[in-house]
């Protein structure tokens, strides 16, 4: 009797577990699949048969999205801004993290505490001073404005990830290099940096995704259509062409796809960075 009840209980728990997992998978991919599928359907089909599959694969909507509305320059902006701010930020924070990890110097502790505390400042709380700073320096509505703001965004998390990475690189390697009369920069650049690849890619991916997806500052610090980044362009696109669903869905697909591809390529790092950084979301 007891064995039977036990069996039943296990069955129910198992069934419940799979229902939860099924629900999780559905809410995560159905919205995206729907967007992609709809981008190949006609406006009429989207409105009248939301669940139907497209009758054929037609990239026309994608073609027209790129042809109109500065979408191409928006894409270029997003790529240039996200890549350059990520690279500069990686260099800056790698330099600092290396010093924090391997050397003792005056003010080390207080500086590290100060840098860490930036993590506690909710994202947009400093928006007004940054908005004014960008205006006063004449950077408003330029790519450079977003690049400098995005460089600053990853400070604390990148510093944590990179410091831990440099701490794990044995000092004996540095000392051996100094024996061979390498200088400070050479020890950093030729010995430590190549060994810090894992941390650099984790921090880099995290910052790139943040920059690529950023909306608030992108929206606040640009005004002309050709200077917008993709997420911001998407918003204006939605407001203006709320009747052309096919193109809207094509645009949505184009904005979300790069993040998804990057994630699929670097799944482990992204998941790792979430656990170690514990930030985004």
């Amino acid at each position: 009797m007891k064995a039977k009840a036990d069996f039943l209980k296990r069955g129910i728990i198992g069934l419940f577990s799979y229902l939860v997992l099924l629900f999780t998978v559905c809410i995560s991919i159905v919205p995206l699949l729907w967007i992609v599928i709809s981008s190949f359907k006609s406006n009429k089909a989207i409105l009248n048969k939301p669940f139907a599959l497209p009758t054929g694969i037609d990239f026309h909507a994608y073609y027209s999205v790129f042809k109109m509305n500065n979408f191409l320059s928006n894409t270029v902006n997003s790529v240039v801004i996200s890549v350059s701010s990520t690279l500069v930020a990686l260099l800056f924070y790698a330099l600092a993290a290396y010093s924090f990890a391997k050397f003792d110097f005056k003010g080390k502790h207080i500086l590290f505490v100060l840098f860490s505390v930036t993590l506690l400042i909710p994202g947009h709380a400093t928006a007004q001073p940054i908005f004014s700073l960008i205006n006063e320096t004449g950077l408003y509505d330029t790519r450079l404005a977003l690049i400098v703001v995005y460089i600053s965004a990853g400070l604390a998390v990148s510093l944590f990830i990179l410091r831990a990475t440099f701490l794990s690189i044995p000092r004996e390697l540095d000392e051996a290099a100094y024996m061979e009369s390498a200088n400070f920069w050479q020890v950093f650049f030729y010995i430590n940096l190549p060994l810090a690849k894992a941390g650099l890619s984790t921090a880099g991916i995290l910052m790139f995704l943040g920059n690529w997806n950023e909306f608030f500052y992108g929206f606040m610090l640009t005004s002309s259509a050709q200077n917008r980044t993709l997420p911001v362009a998407l918003q204006f696109f939605t407001e203006q062409f709320s009747y052309n669903y096919t193109q809207l869905f094509a645009a949505l697909t184009l904005v979300t796809l790069p993040s998804i591809i990057l994630y699929m390529v670097a799944q482990e790092q992204v998941q790792q960075s979430v656990v170690s950084g514990g930030v985004k979301g």
Binding site: V30, S99, L133, L252
Partner: protein, 291 residues
């Protein structure tokens, strides 16, 4: 120890220090001080004491509404969002068939732009073409019509639905804590005759309180800073039923009421630190788990 020029170390810190001063320290000081002034960005800030704070707390009801909404969303985050993420972690921990796939797919909504996600949800909740209403109508409620984001009754729930079940961060944090629990603990408990339910309640749950606390902090702070999900869907409406403190800050800045905006920002910072302090206490996160 080898010899090196101390200057190098400071040179290496310098770029980060400059970023910190320009984008964190000076802005934070500006926020704290000009919150007590009337300032539109063109003339010099005029000291007005607590006028901005009096205004946001009494004259208009936007802060009260924002704080009530924040409280409701925080409750939803703490009692639905985090438990759901933890539930998924507990299921995945037993490594059922396809667990890697689930973990991988669950992450996808979190890696794409929040703004794109908000716009996608605008379409999902669209009455005519949207997935949700058409699905409900397919279930047999053929006359079901609701404009989720534009209906006073449903807008708040609609905004909540755009994030409440997307709890992959919670799942990953809890999962890494679960995996760190020594197997011997479970075996010892089983020998002592503990059931699986008891193992979960008495052993696992207390041991993962650190990640649960972190999850609560992160998800409440995400509610404080939630912007795109509101701005791109309801803009805080209808009425001010979905208004929040981030949208309030944004409105202050674009209306050039900088003093007012910075008073709001100050409250935002205090709220963030308050949440951190309270949650750390409640979950006893500063006490070590294994001893």
């Amino acid at each position: 120890m080898f010899k090196y020029n101390k200057l190098w170390v400071y040179l290496f810190i310098l770029p980060t220090l400059l970023v910190f001063l320009t984008f964190y320290l000076v802005p934070i000081i500006t926020v704290f001080t000009t919150g007590f002034t009337e300032w539109n960005g063109f003339n010099a800030p005029k000291f007005t004491g607590f006028d901005n704070y009096k205004m946001i707390f009494t004259d208009d009801n936007s802060l009260t509404v924002s704080l009530i909404n924040l409280f409701k969303w925080s409750m939803i985050a703490t009692f639905i969002h985090v438990p759901f993420g933890a539930l998924v972690a507990f299921i995945i921990y037993r490594r059922p068939f396809g667990w890697r796939f689930v973990r991988g797919v669950f992450m996808i909504p979190n890696v794409i732009a929040v703004s794109a996600w908000a716009i996608i949800y605008r379409f999902i909740f669209n009455d005519q073409m949207g997935l949700l209403n058409n699905f409900i109508r397919k279930l047999g409620f053929t006359n079901f019509h609701t404009n989720w984001f534009f209906d006073m009754k449903y807008a708040f729930s609609a905004i909540s639905l755009t994030w409440v079940f997307y709890a992959v961060i919670v799942t990953l944090l809890v999962l890494s804590d679960l995996m760190a629990i020594p197997k011997e603990l479970h075996e010892a408990a089983k020998i002592d005759g503990a059931t699986e339910g008891q193992i979960h309640w008495r052993i696992n749950l207390p041991l993962i309180r650190g990640s649960l606390g972190t999850s609560v902090i992160l998800s409440i702070i995400a509610r404080i800073t939630m912007f795109e999900a509101i701005f791109l869907t309801t803009k805080g409406g209808p009425g001010n039923s979905t208004y929040n403190i981030s949208v309030m800050l944004y409105d202050g800045i674009v209306n050039y009421q900088f003093g007012y905006a910075n008073a709001v920002a100050t409250i935002m910072i205090i709220l963030g630190i308050g949440v951190l302090a309270i949650t750390t206490k409640v979950f006893r996160m500063n006490k070590s788990v294994y001893n």
